[in-house]
């Protein structure tokens, strides 16, 4: 390969092949700074370009047919190239199953900045694997925050149509001389303000009026969608995720963990002698115990960890983060520490419905299994964690048992 065929040009800018329709292509071209864009009109031309020269990334917009086949063809020509698909939020789950790196369109300036950062890093250190932040992966795989997506899209729309960058600020952050063009209905602390002064001509006025008219109904629709999404994936009693969604989400996270080398551990726990509390204090008391302990575990775990009610008094927690697995480190340590902190917190917790005499008697037992040592899928990890949980019970309860440490 000669110097002109490297993945970056002489200025160190990554070469990117962009395949998108005119409108999206123009907008991405405008916003993707510090890179050399090669615009192509269709998939075959893109493959030709890729065969001709080394590139850092191929970016395409959807909808496109046979995405999986296209991604495989790209990999056949260049195993290192980053394949990024931009798609509307409603297509995200479908597209992300076929393309490794799928992002919602329109992207924010921050997302594009992050993407460019990754590509520059790849250009300078060819063998460095990409590491997505925990927040980013959570956003990608959760895909349920439609209100947030809408808020982001409003900002994009205003920026694109009015030709200046906008930001969402709180009332306190808004300088007195700046007049917000929109206050988000139901969220009075969210104001849309231009980053630089703008001259509001007739056309701009019309756009702002349009925004005022359409945003309330769109926001209501987005909130309804969020609410339905939440109902579909959560347990009504505890607010934790339900079993079905836990399996789905965990398998997706584990698949990411496999690709990127993330750490992940699964905890399965239940309330010791839960039946006794139900029988002695009634089902309302049992429900309160489940609700309170679920609330506690959510407080103790980190934002990205996934908590779910698997059934009855049984809960599962997937601990994961974007730190790389290290053969010399103790991957279970963080997860075990959090789990044991939870166990201790339950032990000292007071439950109103049990009365003061029962305080300090309620305990939990748990079993912990680690990816990929004890399994590669949610089902395998749950089975192993269940074995560990049984050992915890056999050892006298009120214990978090680490699998393999008998």
């Amino acid at each position: 390969m000669n110097s002109s065929e490297t993945a970056s040009n002489s200025a160190g800018e990554p070469k990117i092949i962009l395949i998108a329709d005119d409108r999206i292509g123009q907008e991405l071209s405008r916003r993707l700074e510090r890179c050399q864009l090669i615009n192509v009109s269709d998939e075959y031309d893109m493959l030709r370009e890729l065969a001709k020269q080394e590139c850092s990334a191929v970016i395409f917009s959807t909808p496109r047919g046979e995405l999986k086949a296209l991604a495989q063809a790209i990999r056949r020509l260049n195993g290192q190239v980053k394949v990024v698909a931009f798609c509307p939020p409603e297509d995200h789950s479908k597209v992300s199953g076929e393309v490794e790196d799928c992002r919602t369109y329109p992207p924010t300036q921050g997302e594009l900045k992050l993407l460019m950062q990754e590509l520059h890093d790849e250009t300078t250190t060819a063998d460095r694997r990409l590491t997505l932040t925990a927040d980013e992966v959570t956003m990608l795989i959760a895909g349920t925050q439609s209100e947030e997506i809408l808020i982001r899209r409003i900002l994009e729309l205003a920026s694109n149509r009015l030709g200046v960058d906008f930001s969402w600020v709180t009332a306190g952050e808004c300088p007195p001389e700046v007049e917000p063009i929109l206050i988000l209905p139901g969220k009075p602390a969210k104001l849309l303000v231009p980053d630089t002064p703008i001259l509001l001509d007739e056309q701009a006025d019309e756009i702002i009026v349009d925004l005022h008219q359409c945003v309330p109904s769109l926001l209501n629709a987005a909130r309804r969608t969020d609410s339905l999404n939440r109902l579909a994936v959560t347990d009504y009693l505890t607010g934790a995720y339900n079993r079905r969604y836990f399996y789905h989400l965990t398998d997706r996270i584990l698949s990411k963990a496999e690709q990127k080398g993330f750490r992940a551990s699964l905890l399965l726990y239940d309330i010791d002698d839960f039946k006794r509390y139900n029988d002695e204090f009634g089902h309302a008391a049992g429900d309160e115990i489940l609700r309170e302990t679920a609330l506690l575990i959510r407080k103790i775990t980190r934002e990205q960890d996934v908590v779910a009610r698997i059934g009855g008094d049984e809960f599962a927690v997937l601990f994961w983060d974007s730190q790389q697995r290290n053969p010399d480190s103790k991957p279970l340590h963080d997860a075990w520490e959090i789990a044991d902190r939870f166990r201790q917190a339950v032990e000292t917790m007071a439950f109103a419905s049990l009365g003061p005499e029962a305080s300090g008697l309620l305990t939990i037992s748990g079993g912990l299994a680690t990816f990929p040592i004890h399994g590669n899928t949610c089902q395998e990890l749950l089975r192993q964690a269940d074995d560990a949980l049984r050992k915890a019970k056999d050892s006298g309860k009120n214990i978090i048992h680490l699998i393999g440490r008998d």
């Binding site: 269709d42 998939e43 075959y44 031309d45 493959l47 030709r48 890729l50 065969a51 046979e66 086949a69 296209l70 495989q72 063809a73 790209i74 056949r76 020509l77």
Partner: protein
């Protein structure tokens, strides 16, 4: 010398067998037009075999890629044009049943082998090598006292 064929067709329709292996034909199956294009672009291919019933107008660029790479085009079909194709689009393509296309592939592979054998360079001694070998031979003859016609 291998005869590399990229195939965009069901494996059952166009499978490798003892005869094709013996003829040095290597099949690379692609499951989509994109994969077939990637195969053609990744390494030089001698031929592209297509199941015409799977093609549509979007595949015209695949044919362009094959033509530009110098690959022979062979199409299997039911006699009709693929959707959105006209006669010119199939220009230069050998058409026929799977059996006929297979026969054509074997014939083309045979031709390539024949050509490559006929132009195979012969090993020739360079002047320097010829001289040193002659010297060695002469030296041996001198050491053994033989080689002289007069003796």
């Amino acid at each position: 010398m291998a005869y590399r064929v990229v195939i965009l067709a069901e494996r059952e329709l166009f499978a490798s067998d003892a005869e094709t292996i013996q003829a040095g034909v290597v099949f690379n199956y692609a499951s989509s037009g994109y994969e077939a294009a990637a195969e053609l672009l990744a390494e030089p291919a001698d031929a592209l075999v297509l199941d015409l019933t799977r093609l549509n107008k979007k595949h015209l660029k695949l044919l362009d890629i094959a033509r530009q790479g110098g690959a022979e085009l062979l199409g299997m079909g039911n006699g009709g044009f693929p959707e959105g194709f006209c006669a010119d689009d199939l220009n230069g393509m050998r058409l026929g049943s799977a059996a006929l296309v297979r026969k054509n592939v074997l014939a083309l592979a045979g031709q390539k082998n024949a050509i490559s054998h006929s132009v195979e360079p012969k090993v020739r001694l360079t002047a320097g090598k010829y001289a040193s070998e002659t010297q060695i031979k002469q030296g041996k003859e001198l050491a053994t006292g033989g080689g002289g016609e007069d003796s």
